[in-house]
């Protein structure tokens, strides 16, 4: 009985550790973005970083790419593959990244 109690406590403690240390999982589609939009600030690129950007600005940009209102080379083609809900989730995730 005592051993089982200790196990339960240990499991709960570990669950807390997982929350604290593991990176938050990217929503569907988001992991692809950093192939071109650098996660690091130390990359020689003219493509804007997404990490830490305002979520509503990212949503507006994606919707404008998707609707053809914003000039693009490739983002118009990519944005067409995402729904509003997906775009919002991706934008909210990048807003929390640093």
């Amino acid at each position: 009985m005592k051993a089982r109690h200790a196990l339960v406590t240990a499991v709960m403690a570990c669950a807390g550790v997982i929350q604290a240390v593991a990176a938050e999982e990217a929503p569907p589609g988001a992991a692809s973005c950093t192939g071109c939009h650098a996660a690091s600030v130390n990359v020689d690129t003219s493509v804007p970083r997404l990490a830490g950007q305002d979520a509503s600005a990212l949503v507006s940009a994606m919707q404008a790419f998707r609707g053809g209102q914003r000039p693009a080379t490739v983002m118009d083609r990519i944005a067409k593959g995402f729904s509003d809900d997906e775009i919002k989730a991706i934008a909210a995730w990048f807003a929390t990244q640093r």
Partner: protein
């Protein structure tokens, strides 16, 4: 150490069996264990997976097995071949990956036991794993094109793996007398990064035009259609009267080589080459055969949600080696899929169901150093295979002005800097 671990694992497994009715039998992470993940192959897919597994849950015990201490990246080696780029710009080390807590072992995998879940290395070390991520890349088939074996590749380079072969083809082009004919031979699909073969043709034609104006390039192709074809053909028409593309319907199918005579044969003709670049048919890298995850096509069928092999449970196959439906064998997709797979593996180890993934592929090609274009696609699993989301993706506009091409050439360079930074930086 090993004894301690297996004792703990046994204990954890017992606890899990009583505590959880999950369909995933061993939610190791949820029970506080330190599951062992072995990643075989340190290219775009494998190195990404190793790094993002460790980031996904720092308590994972992640080992990256890669024989080469330095990675030579293939994208942009076409620029190296024609003297526009230094090979050193292609080389990356594993120090930063190791610094994040991944054990990097510079050995070859010599055996994989999917039943006992263990990998044997060249020095005899045995690594046990709970999950194996296999990213063996592609191997060239030296039994597919008559006359083209490993020895022939020293005379007629493939340059389809970055490194000595890249520099060999470069030296041959440099040494060729003005007026010599360059012959390229391209295989049928599937193979690694097909657009790169047309980019190479373009850049070799660019090199000949500027450095060997009396020379020409003949491209013998086992295909009639290819990715970004209209964009390439428009560029060739505009820039390269010295480039002759011979598709399979015009007799272009390569049927053999003779290195002594320096000839390349096709269905209809035999071409005398001053320099020959032979890209032979390909198959999944050797480790896929060791693990028994390749099917009769030579490539590896996988579940599109988990990237787990359909042939051997517990092994996830990434990168060029995997059969991924509509997704091309590109560095971009290898990296993107590896990040998704890393998250999936963490979920499985926690006993959570994998989330439905979605990802983007973008491939840039250069028709000239300042003339770039792209193909993009958005992919998601439908009925057990990766399909492109309809209405999205596609190629750069066919009628775009040169400023647009120049902008995409800049983005191509930026992409390389970004993706290699994410993986190795």
């Amino acid at each position: 150490m090993i004894g301690l671990r297996s004792t703990r694992r046994q204990f954890v497994a017992t606890a899990a069996a009583t505590a959880s009715a999950s369909v995933f039998p061993r939610p190791l992470l949820a029970q506080g264990a330190q599951p062992r993940i072995v990643v075989v192959g340190g290219g775009f897919a494998g190195a990404t997976a190793a790094r993002f597994l460790k980031r996904g849950d720092p308590r994972l015990d992640v080992t990256l097995v890669e024989p080469n201490p330095i990675f030579a990246a293939c994208p942009f080696t076409n620029e190296v071949i024609v003297g526009l780029r230094d090979m050193r710009a292609q080389l990356f080390g594993y120090d930063r990956i190791a610094a994040e807590g991944v054990a990097v072992v510079h050995q070859a995998a010599t055996a994989v036991d999917g039943q006992a879940r263990g990998v044997t290395l060249g020095d005899g070390t045995k690594l046990a794993y709970e999950r194996l991520v296999l990213a063996p890349g592609s191997d060239l088939r030296f039994d597919a094109l008559p006359g083209y074996d490993e020895a022939a590749a020293e005379r007629m380079p493939h340059a389809w793996k970055a490194g000595d072969q890249t520099l060999l083809l470069r030296r041959q082009l440099e040494a060729m007398e003005d007026g010599g004919t360059v012959v390229m031979a391209l295989p049928a699909l599937p193979y690694r990064c097909p657009p790169a073969s047309y980019e190479r043709a373009s850049l070799i034609a660019h090199y000949l035009k500027t450095r060997k104006p009396r020379s020409k390039l003949v491209v013998l192709d086992a295909k009639d259609t290819f990715s970004m074809q209209r964009l390439f053909e428009n560029a060739w028409q505009e820039l390269y009267p010295n480039l002759e593309w011979v598709p399979v319907s015009s007799g272009g199918n390569p049927t053999g080589v003779d290195t002594a005579a320096m000839t390349v044969s096709s269905d209809f003709d035999t071409y005398k080459a001053a320099v020959a670049n032979i890209i032979p048919p390909q198959k999944a890298g050797h480790a896929a055969e060791l693990a028994g995850v390749a099917d009769r096509t030579g490539w590896c069928p996988v579940d599109p949600v988990t990237f787990e092999s359909r042939l051997v449970p517990g092994i996830h196959v990434l990168g060029d080696a995997a059969i991924a439906g509509a997704v091309p064998k590109s560095a971009f997709s290898a990296n993107a899929a590896a990040k998704i797979c890393a998250a999936v593996v963490v979920r499985l180890l926690r006993g959570d169901a994998p989330a439905a993934p979605k990802f983007v592929n973008t491939c840039y090609s250069l028709a000239a150093p300042d003339y770039g274009f792209s193909i993009a696609g958005v992919y998601q699993p439908v009925n057990g295979q990766w399909l492109e989301v309809e209405g999205a993706g596609g190629i750069s506009p066919v009628d775009a002005p040169r400023a647009f091409r120049s902008q995409e050439a800049k983005f191509a360079n930026a992409w390389f800097n970004t993706i290699t930074s994410e993986i190795f930086g």
